[in-house]
């Protein structure tokens, strides 16, 4: 009961800071704005709704020759009916006529999806079922090779990909595609928020000179340390759930929720994973929660070691900034490990990573490494708290 009171008191202490609320409000506004920007880029909401209705109607159909022929026939009919659609010079954009026709038909998302698989707008208009799945497979190989995956690693993933039943069912899943597009922004906002909220979790005791009173109180040693860690993790996870939930909520509101049970390749064509979009979303949520806890723990660690909220924030800013950079595929094992950095967890490429980590995929390896890091920090913090707070004086 007392420990719970202390835990609640620590949460209240974190939330009593104005900066926490300002940062959260900015992030919420930012995520909402990103949703609006996406919507405006896709035309007005009436068009998006029309498209959702039309494409949901054909969702569940297998992407086979008949499906592709039907779509092509519809587009060609549109082009015949409206010569203006093909007026654009071919040299300028060979697939423009089809894109314009798809837009007029309210099916631009389907055409864009075909283009994302084939990666050539003209070819996308003429693609056959065989070519479609061959292009998907080739993408896995070319992306994997560019990443630096070995042949053995690629073979493992191709085996998984080949095990997926084909033809795959098409599904309108534009909301999830949009979520993937903005996921890294959400990740950045999340890391920034966690750092602002928790950088002072231990450092504030020194800054505000409350350390002596805390240390001389009954719960001022291990219980307060545990309460601070638990409160920090709770705040971090709550922020993750709010930001991720808001991002999903905004996209679902604008683009509908259809696509949960569809294959991941509907939103990530070059992914070899044999999972549904729904599973992908759940994995992202789990990763977001885990990474939030890891960030909360590392904030607590640096806050305790540096005894300065500013220094803690600076360290995390540097970590987040370093996360932007990619290492060339030639770097071998360093590249492989670099792909597991926490800032990559909320990245759309997570399910396109074709590295293997001792029999594990990147998500399994990330979860294992993050859990080990969390456990190590959790084990070290209470001892370190005693050492830095009392024994060093």
């Amino acid at each position: 009961m007392n420990s719970f009171s202390l835990y609640k008191a620590e949460i209240k202490k974190i939330l009593s800071r104005k900066a926490v609320w300002i940062a959260m409000a900015v992030s919420v506004a930012f995520v909402f704005a990103v949703g609006l920007i996406n919507l405006s880029a896709d035309g007005h909401s009436a068009y998006v709704k029309k498209q959702e209705k039309l494409l949901t109607a054909i969702s569940g159909n297998a992407v086979d020759d008949a499906f592709l022929d039907d779509f092509r026939d519809e587009m060609e009919k549109k082009i015949d009916e409206d010569p203006q659609l093909s007026d654009m010079p071919a040299a300028y954009d060979p697939g423009a006529a089809y894109r314009n026709a798809a837009e007029q038909a309210g099916k631009s998302a389907l055409y864009d999806y075909l283009c994302s698989v084939v990666r050539d707008r003209e070819e996308a208009a003429a693609i056959t079922s065989d070519g479609f799945y061959r292009a998907m497979r080739e993408d896995i190989v070319s992306d994997g090779t560019a990443l630096g995956s070995s042949e053995a690693e690629l073979d493992t993933w191709l085996e998984i990909y080949d095990g997926i039943e084909k033809p795959m069912a098409y599904s309108y899943a534009l909301a999830y595609m949009k979520i993937l597009e903005v996921l890294y922004i959400v990740g950045w906002a999340l890391f920034m928020n966690i750092s602002i909220a928790l950088a002072g979790i231990f450092a504030d005791e020194k800054t505000y000179r409350t350390d002596a009173m805390i240390l001389s109180s009954k719960n001022g040693r291990l219980p307060v340390c545990i309460a601070k860690i638990a409160a920090g993790c709770t705040v971090a996870v709550t922020e993750a759930v709010i930001l991720l939930g808001l991002c999903m909520g905004v996209m679902f509101l604008f683009y509908g929720t259809a696509g949960w049970n569809a294959a991941i390749q509907n939103v990530m064509p070059s992914s070899p994973w044999n999972i549904t979009i729904g599973t992908m979303v759940l994995i992202y949520i789990a990763l977001a929660v885990l990474v939030s806890i890891l960030f909360a723990m590392s904030n607590a660690l640096f806050s305790l070691l540096t005894k300065s909220a500013v220094a803690t924030m600076a360290i995390h800013a540097a970590v987040i900034f370093a996360g932007i950079f990619n290492i060339p595929g030639k770097a071998g094992v360093i590249k492989k490990l670099w792909q597991l950095r926490p800032t990559m967890a909320l990245y759309s490429g997570t399910f396109c990573n074709t590295f293997r980590y001792g029999g594990m995929n990147n998500v399994e390896a990330s979860v294992l490494i993050y859990c080990i890091c969390i456990a190590v920090i959790a084990a070290v913090l209470p001892t370190l708290y005693g050492k830095t707070q009392v024994e060093s004086r």
Binding site: M1, N2, S5, L6, K8, A9, K12, K13, S16, R17, K18, D204, Y208, R209, T210, D211, A212, M213, I214, L215, S216, S217, K218, N219, G220, R221, P223, V224, V390, E391, R393
Partner: protein
């Protein structure tokens, strides 16, 4: 109930802050007098378990139990107001007391009752919902005193508690200390002689880390202020 200091020493590189202090402290008000740098704060911090003594022991004997300074039970019996009382500026007075109550392991119901009582005792009930950053120096100090006695401590350590208090508050505070001293070991440090001469049952005078006087105010055959000043003359002349 007694607090036993046995050869307590704190050594820092190049200096001995507290040098082999031994004392048996029983319930009552103990005034710790000494100029700046005499070692009062270091000694108090060691009694609070914030600093580890280089050598020597501090033990609290209570109800047939002997508690070590590092034990949770010892800290449960402890109340402490540091010299530089720190606070969270965005907390209200009430919220701060509730937070300290949680740290002291007081259950919520008792904490609420105690907070209200103490806010009244230290005349902060009207300012209880205002942020501490808006408090005057005296108000902050009174809040510090309130947090120190939240858990009805058996050992109460007050480091320069009268700093920032106006004369009226000083008198009220002395009365409060005298009341608390009936059931607890109250050690309060100051360099203002008038603060201790009216309430202290025992006076410990420190100079350069050692005790130079330990006894009752009445043991001194002259005016306490003159005795105090004379005791420190040597230092000033050096």
């Amino acid at each position: 109930m007694e607090l036993i200091l046995n050869q307590v020493t704190k050594q820092y590189p190049g200096t001995v802050a507290v040098d082999r202090i031994s004392a048996d402290l029983r319930p009552g008000v103990i005034g710790l007098l000494g100029s700046n740098g005499a070692g009062k704060t270091t000694l108090m911090r060691m009694i609070c378990g914030i600093i580890k003594p280089t050598s020597g022991t501090i033990r609290f004997r209570y109800d047939n139990d002997t508690l070590n300074v590092s034990e949770e039970m010892y800290r449960d019996a402890l109340g402490y107001l540091p010299q530089d009382f720190g606070y969270y500026p965005d907390f209200t007075g009430r919220k701060f007391l509730m937070y300290m109550a949680a740290l002291k392991g007081i259950d919520k119901r008792t904490a609420k009752r105690k907070c209200e009582e103490l806010l009244k005792t230290v005349s902060l009930e009207k300012a209880a919902n205002k942020k501490i950053k808006s408090y005057s120096g005296g108000m902050k100090q009174r809040l510090g005193i309130a947090q120190a006695v939240l858990n009805d401590p058996k050992i109460l350590i007050l480091d320069e508690p009268t700093a920032g208090l106006d004369p009226q508050e000083r008198v009220r505070f002395r009365n409060l200390i005298a009341e608390l001293g009936k059931d607890a070991i109250v050690i309060f440090s100051t360099h203002i002689v008038s603060d201790v001469e009216h309430v202290a049952d025992r006076i410990i005078m420190m100079k350069d880390g050692v005790v130079i006087f330990d006894g009752k105010g009445t043991d001194i055959r002259e005016d306490l202020e003159s005795f105090y000043l004379r005791s420190f003359e040597g230092k000033e002349n050096e």
